[in-house]
């Protein structure tokens, strides 16, 4: 039933910092999230792209030094896009994603608690259907745990450098545009 005590404490600490960051970054505010999808507020994009580039550089450096493994999820090219498309509709209707809904619930936002109720219900329903899905849609077009490096042959550092450069150009453009508005 329970993991080891050090792992539970590490999880609590990591989650505490994650929740603090999400709340301070305003992404537990549903106007900010819906605003991103309406292309009126780019906070979500700024947070996510910065996290991806900074996180990726560190994780790949640690991986090269033998300090961590990679945990790449399988590229199920039917289930991932279909799941993602359903997820996007839910994210706009609720106004949060799972992590930011948990953060908003911690802040005391009642709509986030209702969203969590819907999520737990979906988890219970999905658990009943999972065996069928794993033999059908989740097995279709499954490329396995592949990375952009695996499919293109271009090194991870080139990908991360390119992403970093693209993010910087996007951020500079966004900040200039926001200054003028």
């Amino acid at each position: 039933m329970f993991d080891t005590v050090p792992r539970i404490l590490l999880g609590l600490l990591t989650g505490f910092l994650f929740g603090f960051l999400l709340q301070r970054g305003r992404v537990s505010d549903r106007r900010v999230i819906v605003g991103q999808f309406l292309l009126r507020d780019f906070t979500v994009m700024k947070v996510m792209l910065t996290a991806i580039v900074v996180g990726g550089a560190g994780v790949y450096a640690m991986h090269a030094a033998g300090l961590t493994k990679l945990f790449v999820k399988p590229a199920q090219m039917a289930a991932v896009p279909v799941g993602g498309l359903i997820f996007g509709v839910g994210m706009v209707l609720l106004g949060y994603c799972p992590g930011t809904a948990v953060a908003a619930a911690g802040e005391g936002k009642r709509d986030a608690w209702l969203g969590l109720a819907g999520m737990v219900l979906a988890a219970a329903v999905f658990a009943e259907l999972a065996a069928g899905f794993s033999k059908s849609i989740m097995a279709w077009a499954n490329l396995g745990p592949v990375t952009l490096t695996d499919v293109t042959g271009v090194s991870a550092w080139v990908w991360l450098g390119g992403l970093g450069l693209a993010a910087l150009l996007l951020f500079r453009w966004l900040e200039r545009r926001e200054e003028h508005s």
């Binding site: 493994k69 790449v72 706009v92 819907g118």
Partner: protein, 161 residues
Amino acid sequence: MNVLTSKHWSPYAVGAGIGVLSWFAFWSADHPLGVSSVMVRLVAVVENAVAADHVAATPYLAKLKPFFDWEFALVIGLVLGAWASARLGRSGGGEPVAQGRAWEAVIGGFLLLFGARLAGGCTSGHGISGSLQLAVSGWVFFICIFISGMATAFLVKRGEQ
């Protein structure tokens, strides 16, 4: 101004913080940041209390043992961290929820988690942790949520904000 009590932080600082927190999670726990599978763990805990046989016969639930793991603790910590941040920054708080909004939130939450479980992750597990490892699954997910999210927002949320 005290950084702990300022209401908001720069999105770049928050993003960099989440990136560094990812390093910590990979290094300390051998686990990427992720949230959506914890909802399944919660279901497993509840069903295990009332129908343990059913859980044992459902591999999708049974394989999650121990149910209360690092990721479960992460989500509890997330609630506490967001609460502490809102208190220190004097923001957040419960606004009353209109009836229409209540149904929208429940249905939105349902679609959100169903989609996440079908895809195998959420904004954290696929969108950030997957994308930062350059996983094809993470980037496909990231692009798909923006396609359907923008379509939904422009169809039903345009007039609201």
